[in-house]
């Protein structure tokens, strides 16, 4: 039973090792010229000085929401891609592709709307 999960644990281990390897590798190989601005928490983000209750742009939420939409899209596409071969074998590959295309088009309409309405413009 547990042995069936072997590949999963191997992948988990690889992921952890790789993550640390990238972090450490970047620190070892990359140039390091720290200055005051670079060392601030949330570099390039909000200024961490002053009260936490300041007003900031609602665009952060827009980006987060758009991200979730496309994240969910990918989540839906994974099982579809994984079972696509079975649909091909059954001879309905074209139809299934059509259905998924409709799904992607609907989400693309959302993206077009978002861009045209200036949802991704920061000013």
């Amino acid at each position: 039973m547990l042995a069936e999960y072997g590949p999963f644990f191997i992948q988990l281990g690889l992921a952890i090792v790789l993550a640390f390897a990238f972090l450490k590798g970047a620190a070892l190989l990359g140039p390091s010229r720290p200055n005051r601005i670079k060392q601030m928490p949330y570099e390039s983000g909000m200024d961490p000085i002053g009260t936490a209750r300041t007003r900031y742009s609602v665009k952060f939420y827009l980006v987060a929401m758009i991200f979730i939409v496309f994240d969910v899209e990918v989540v839906f596409l994974y099982p579809w891609a994984a079972s696509f071969e079975r649909f091909l074998d059954a001879g309905v590959g074209l139809e299934v592709l059509g259905v998924v295309t409709i799904f992607v088009i609907i989400l693309a309409v959302g993206l077009v709307y978002d861009i045209k309405k200036g949802g991704l413009e920061f000013d």
Binding site: A90, V92, E95, V96, I106, V112, Y113, K116, K117
Partner: protein, 491 residues
């Protein structure tokens, strides 16, 4: 699983559900159109044409035999066509009423019409659902669009408050609904309504808990007591013509779905007691609190709570006559409420925002805007249930079956509370016609003119209300949906 036949019926399904598919596609078209041509003049008319097409198509199919589409997920024809026609009709009248209103308050934005189309899509999916999954998908699609429409006037604090309230409470109700669906599925192992009763087996307790939670979700949507708290606030804050849409179309969809659940999944009579008590509370509390309201929209909100109670009386009867009476009442209620909110929306143009419009500010308006005021006479008498208007026949159609099912006490309370309701409905007319105009509110120099299209919609509602009261064939139509066994048509 054999996949070769997966798409064999898709073409036929799309054809029988063409109004649903078209509404969704046109909603997307409006979204794209609005992205490139902001607030284009044609946007409301695209929406109106789509809804009109759906209305005509569904009306022609009311007589057709009921069937299912998309692997039994949705019902089509017969009762489903009737409910869809209600939703399309309500949406169409609302679009025509809302366009000049939204222009006058400076919120004429294209998205409104896309949202109305998407909400209609969700309502159709909910009102014709044959499976718990479809119920949930329709429920959410409808609700999310309505939350946005409620908070349309973002700059108005009251509107934002009511939208947030609606959203938080609605999300909570959705949680109940979803939990109920999970328990019902757990007890029966099926999502299809018509398979539930035979599949319950010895999981009765779990099934009943599930149905109870499911009912909470539905009763919230139809604003039945004790889940009615959101209604007055939301109706007060939202743009007035859109309130007409929310209060009629979403109720039609939720009640139709509830009827399908009760009729298909719970044919036993064990739920009569629960629904009867809720109906009693809803009628009494809705009507009594409405007596004390001075704000017009809040008064109409409590009135719509009371009407949900009357419709629940038909459901509590638990018989096909009761269900068909409730379906007929939904039609009458749609006509009356769209009309009443339409009149209030048009009268708002004297500069008083709808959310603050009190009855006093409308005193003496009957002589300045006779068409609107006289239409309001019909709507008020209809809502109070005076013969020969549709409201009277509707009440007969829901109270009669309740008496046949042995719920005489409930029918008596219903009639008594309708008598109480006459007080606050007729008070509107007293204020309109028998009071001097209030010097504090400058109704003397009203200059607004009523757009022809809006006036036509109001007059159409009046005519419909009279026709429904004197032509009895509509009741035969709703009764025919339950002729024979609706289950027999299922595979």
């Amino acid at each position: 699983m054999d996949l070769t036949q997966s798409f064999s019926s898709l073409g036929a399904d799309i054809i029988v559900s063409a109004p649903l598919v078209l509404t969704m596609v046109m909603g997307l078209v409006i979204v794209v159109l609005d992205a490139f041509r902001r607030n284009h003049v044609a946007t409301p008319w695209i929406a109106a044409l789509t809804l009109a097409f759906g209305l005509v198509m569904e009306i022609t199919r009311i007589g057709a035999a009921s069937g299912t589409a998309y692997y039994d997920l949705l019902r089509v024809g017969g009762m489903a066509a009737y409910v869809n026609a209600l939703i399309f009709g309500s949406g169409l009248l609302t679009v025509i009423l809302a366009r000049p209103y939204l222009e006058s308050i400076g919120h004429h934005i294209g998205e409104v019409y896309a949202l109305i189309l998407f909400a209609s899509t969700g309502m159709i999916v909910l009102g014709t659902a044959n499976s718990l999954i479809t119920i949930f998908v329709g429920f959410e699609t409808m609700s999310i669009c309505l939350y946005i429409l409620t908070g349309l006037v973002r700059t108005n604090q009251g509107a934002t408050e009511s939208a947030l309230k609606y959203f938080l409470l609605g999300a909570f109700a959705t949680g109940f609904l979803l939990y109920g669906i999970a328990l019902m599925y757990g007890a029966t192992g099926t999502m299809y309504l018509h398979e539930m009763q035979s599949a319950v087996g010895d999981h009765q307790t779990m099934f009943r808990s599930g149905v109870g939670l499911l009912l909470v979700g539905f009763l919230f949507k139809v604003s039945a007591v004790p889940f009615h708290m959101w209604t007055p606030d939301v109706y007060q804050g939202a743009p007035t013509p859109l309130v007409g849409y929310m209060s009629t179309a979403s109720k039609s969809a939720a009640f139709a779905s509830l009827i399908l659940v009760l009729y298909l999944a719970l044919p036993s009579t064990q739920w009569i007691g629960v629904v009867a008590v809720i109906a009693l509370l809803t009628m009494v509390i809705g009507n009594v609190i409405a007596l004390a309201q001075t704000n017009v929209k809040r008064m109409l909100a409590y009135s719509s709570i009371a009407h949900a109670g009357y419709i629940l009386v038909g459901l509590a009867a638990g018989s096909p006559e009761g269900y068909s009476g409730a379906l007929f009442y939904l039609l009458v209620y749609t006509v009356m409420n769209i009309g009443a909110f339409g009149v209030i929306a048009l009268l708002e143009w004297d500069g008083t925002q709808g959310s603050e419009q009190s009855l006093d500010s409308l005193s003496g308006i009957g002589y300045k805007k006779p068409l609107l005021a006289w239409s309001m006479v019909f709507f008020m008498f209809g809502l109070a249930g005076f013969p020969p208007l549709g409201g009277f026949i509707g009440k007969v159609a829901v109270f009669g079956p309740a008496i046949h099912s042995g719920l005489t006490w409930l029918a008596i309370v219903g009639v008594l509370t309708s008598a109480v309701s006459a007080y606050y409905y007729l008070r509107v007319l007293v204020v309109f016609f028998m009071k001097e105009s209030n010097p504090d509110v400058a109704t003397d120099n009203i200059t607004f003119s009523v757009p022809g299209m809006s006036a036509a919609v109001i007059v159409l509602c009046v005519i419909m209300l009279i026709v429904l009261g004197i032509v009895p064939t509509f009741l035969d139509v709703t009764a025919s949906f339950f002729d024979g066994n609706m289950l027999a048509t299922l595979p």
